[in-house]
Amino acid sequence: MKKYDVIVVGSGHNGLTNAAFLGKAGLDVLVLEKNDYIGGATVSRNLHEDWKYSNCSYLASLFRPEIYRHLNLAKHGLQVVTYNGGFTVTDCGDYLGSYSDHEVMRREIRRHSPVDVDAYDRYYHQMAKWCRFIRPLLLRTPPDPTSFKFRDLDELRFLGKKFFELGQRDLYDFMKFFTVSVGEFLDEFFESDLIKAHKAGSAVVGTNLGAMSPGTAYVLLHHYMGDVDGAVGAWGFPRGGMGAMSGALAGAVREHGGEIRTSAGVDKISVKNGKVTGVILESGEEIKADRVVSNLDAKKTFLGLLDPKDAGEKVVKAAKRYKSRGSSGKLNFALNGVPEFTALPKGSELIKGDFHVVDNMEAYERGYDEWKEGKWSSHPYLDLLIPTLTDPTMAPPGKHYMTCFVQYCPARVEGKDWTPELLKQFGDNVINTIAKYAPNFKDLVEHVEIRSGQVIDNEIGLTEGNIFQGELSLNQLMFNRPFHGCAQYRGPVNGLYMSGSTTHPGGGVMGAPGANSAREILMDMNISTTVPEDEGDD
């Protein structure tokens, strides 16, 4: 029977990134996917007639350009297209538009508050500062602060140097920024509720915290780290939906001789004498390899794939304590036309961008309060995007695909499993919310797919449907992601690695965890690395 150098469990974008880099280094790699399609949460699913749904993730600008380039993804068919526009509507009856032109954006803000205009510039520069600080850390392995190894000490020194480089004022501002709530952070800049509501969305997306909860300001940054062609904070999506991303990554895997098997769910990672020997599929088939990379989250890996005996008590305890609560839902719509938002002026093209519906700043927090009680938000925050206004490939001509991200939605409803009736009620509440702002919306809906965290968990294995493969809270970042001892992409057994968003630097379609993990594996094998480091901006 064939023995592989490396088996990657799970064909999410990070698993594929990992496999592609390993293949590129000359290793014999097999990727195993339990579903009959690849991509994990990076997919374009054909679920209704000629529509393609990016039915989990729907944006790609966090994806590291270094990976894009070094894996030649363009050659494999990936085209990340930027879009402009976007807006937020709240119950104030007005809207706040997003414009790529700085002066137009300023004028838009001035409409709502004459003093917030300049504050917006200050805000932007502050964010740019933090992004610039944090981005070089994405394609690096975090140090272990308790270790005395040269590498860890050296990495700590690097971090220290970066901190000091910020200077006293900015370092202290950053420390504060890192721990406050997004509401408080925005309060220091803005007075307009609409502007704050517009900005706060990014800080709660996928996060089981409210806009007034400490720690959410950082999540904001996590969503600003992306860039498209050097435009930091710009957003884009792959032409053809997110499936084009995983398709291109799979192309890169195959180009370098890697194999990908679908409908091949892994049951167990087999371990002998403290060393990984391969995997056993759900079918009972055994495949041998010296190294196994789990692209699943820490809970699924250490509490599911690995025998508790092999994982060890400490790791099992840590994995149980690892937090991966689901707080969001997703709706995918096939539409007959474009919804008309009453707040928008006639002829506005803002709807081409991603737009947000939230009743007001307080609604975030009230929605979170409901989530804490196991209910979905009755007045949710919605992040919506109609990619077909920019990308003609995802729906029949004249028709549209709309993605709708819903915050907050519990993984289980008041402790009970989701049922089709509950999904329908949840979906109806979202549709009514949209219709409140775009009265023609209901008539446009041709088909809708409603996904709760539990549905997503069952389908693609993100625990509770947490989009980041584990919460992005201070206790689960850097050397604490997923937890101390396993934060350098290595599992507790020899030959076991992790490559998912459950590791540093965390979620979003970024590819960095997969790449970093490949670098670590190659380092252990003494093979010169094929994985790029941050290419920097100056």
Binding site: S147, M175, K176, T179, S213, N475, N480
Partner: protein, 522 residues
């Protein structure tokens, strides 16, 4: 008045709160000519004893002594100056509606239907927490490190911290601390325990006096903080109420030669040529000193006393950005007799009683203040000090409770009706555990966060002079430029709870400030 007639001092301390008195005590002990100016008729600020009704006295704001800095107590010899404890090492009793209460001491948990496993875990958990508190505790006694310009003391402190973390705790516990340090208390407790009553009571400690609920990230650290000050987390009651602590501190200061002036409200702190010159009292009297120390909130100091124009703008902005929302009200009740609590003996009532039956309930109580509402089912920390100190009530008893949550900015404002309504809510809540309480009430009153601001100058009603959260701790407290007690104005210092290490009747801020002044930091 001409300059020659104005009295001259080495140091003027504005505000006779406990930190001001401690600061004065240390400075005077070092030979400085110090005056403390207190606006009210008695010193003590929020640590005072007040008359509730005829013959009955209560600790006005703070009511337990659990963080009094041991160095302060020793250096200023507070026991010699009259500080006595009427009770110490009080247990915490977490009240349960069914009368099966949970008794907690430093290392044991009994009752409340607690499982053996939880009881064992509690012991281990508290030992670990005391370990952590012990590791970090020394940071309370020194000024926050100035990481960009480390002096010798800072370098020593940094090494000490590193050593304590890595070798004192060991890699395992250190990494666990690094994981937990930013967490919310709820996740920490859910990881450890099953018993809701236990979790509720411990979570209450983490949120007490803060504007957070159990789900708010960062309050694990406030939990540790409570254990770090004072005598290993022992909860004590001073004889004569909290005013006795202030009196002892004042006596110590006076014994060292400090002049204390009450009814001396400061109108302004005076500045000439970018340096402090002294203060002007409301009476018009001018006092001269090259050093002025403010025991007041930084916002009050900067905006009202010194004036924003004597500081650079970014500093002023940062000072106004300090979050300083109070979330707790104080309830005082004069009782005809000892109240009966279901399932508690009279002896049990001497302890610290906590109403916080579970984390979810606590979080729900917190939800309200985010929107400017009061909790419908408030949580409480209750003390009946007259059971251990008969001097507080000639007849009958007094009960004090810290009630959470009550917002500072109540929607519609703290009108008399709003206050009365919330007082009723609180008494009802108490009645759930002590059914006969209503019949025993002679007099009841409520001090809202707004009252705390008006009466004690606690801006926003926050008794820490600024919320104790990660982003407002150590070198970020109260703002980076003032974290070493010296403000960016020659001769101007702060010594109040707004400075590191924060509030609680601790005295550490006053001590650290005095040290900074003596060292000549600026």
């Amino acid at each position: 008045m001409t300059k020659e007639q104005n009295k001259t001092y080495d140091v003027i301390i504005v505000g006779g709160g406990h930190n001001g008195l401690v600061c004065a005590g240390y400075l005077a002990k070092a030979g400085k000519n110090v005056v403390v100016l207190e606006a009210e008729k008695q010193v003590g600020g929020a640590a005072t004893t007040a008359e509730l009704s005829y013959g009955k006295k209560v600790s006005h704001c703070a009511h337990f002594l659990n963080q009094l800095n041991q160095k302060v107590s020793k250096d200023l010899n507070l026991s010699k100056h009259g500080l006595k404890l009427s009770a110490s090492k009080l247990a915490t009793i977490a009240l349960s509606a069914d009368g099966n209460h949970l008794h907690l001491t430093k290392d044991s948990a009994t009752g409340g239907g607690i499982s053996e496993e939880d009881a064992t875990n509690y012991k281990q958990f508290m030992a670990l927490m005391h370990d952590y508190a012990g590791t970090l505790g020394f940071l309370l006694d020194i000024p926050p490190m100035d990481v960009f310009n480390m002096d010798w003391d800072d370098k020593k402190a940094a090494l000490k911290l590193g050593w304590k973390l890595r070798f004192g705790l060991g890699a395992e516990k250190m990494s666990e601390l690094l994981r937990m340090i930013g967490m919310n208390i709820r996740d920490v407790l859910d990881d450890e325990f099953d018993n809701e009553l236990l979790k509720g009571a411990l979570a209450f400690d983490a949120v007490l006096g803060t504007h957070t609920g159990p789900y708010s990230a960062g309050n694990f650290l406030t939990f540790l903080y409570r254990l770090a000050g004072g005598n290993n987390g022992s909860v004590d009651i001073p004889e004569g109420g909290m005013g006795a602590v202030s009196s002892a501190m004042a006596a110590a200061a006076i014994a060292n030669g400090t002049e204390i002036r009450t009814n001396a409200r400061v109108k302004s702190i005076d500045v000439d040529n970018c340096a402090v010159t002294g203060v002007t009292l409301e009476s018009g009297e001018v006092l001269i000193a090259p050093i002025v120390v403010s025991n007041a909130h930084l916002q009050t100091t900067v905006l009202d006393m010194v004036g924003a124009r004597h500081f650079e703008a970014d500093f002023v902005k940062r000072a106004t950005d300090i979050r300083t929302r109070g979330a707790a009200a104080k309830m005082h009740i004069a009782l005809k007799d000892v109240p009966e609590f279901n399932g508690l003996s009279k002896d049990d009532l001497k302890n610290r009683l906590v109403i916080s039956p579970g984390q979810q309930e606590l979080e729900r109580a917190f939800n309200h203040i985010k929107y400017g509402e009061v909790s419908t089912e408030p949580m409480m920390e209750i003390s009946i000090p007259s059971l251990v100190d008969a001097s507080l009530a000639e007849n009958g008893h007094v009960l004090s409770a810290t009630v959470q949550y009550a917002p500072y900015n109540l929607k519609g404002g703290w009108t008399d009706q709003a206050k009365a309504a919330f007082l009723e809510t609180c008494i009802d809540r108490l009645g759930q555990f002590a059914p006969n309480i209503r019949a025993l009430i002679e007099h009841a009153e409520l001090i809202t966060p707004k009252d705390m601001e008006d009466e004690f100058g606690l801006v926003g009603g926050n008794w820490h002079h600024g919320e104790l959260t990660l982003d407002q701790m150590l070198m970020l407290r109260p703002v980076p430029e003032a974290s070493r007690y010296a403000l960016p104005l020659d001769g101007m210092y702060i010594c109040g709870a707004g400075a590191h290490p924060g509030g609680g009747v601790m005295g550490a801020a006053g001590r650290n400030a005095a040290n900074a002044i003596l060292k000549g930091d600026q």
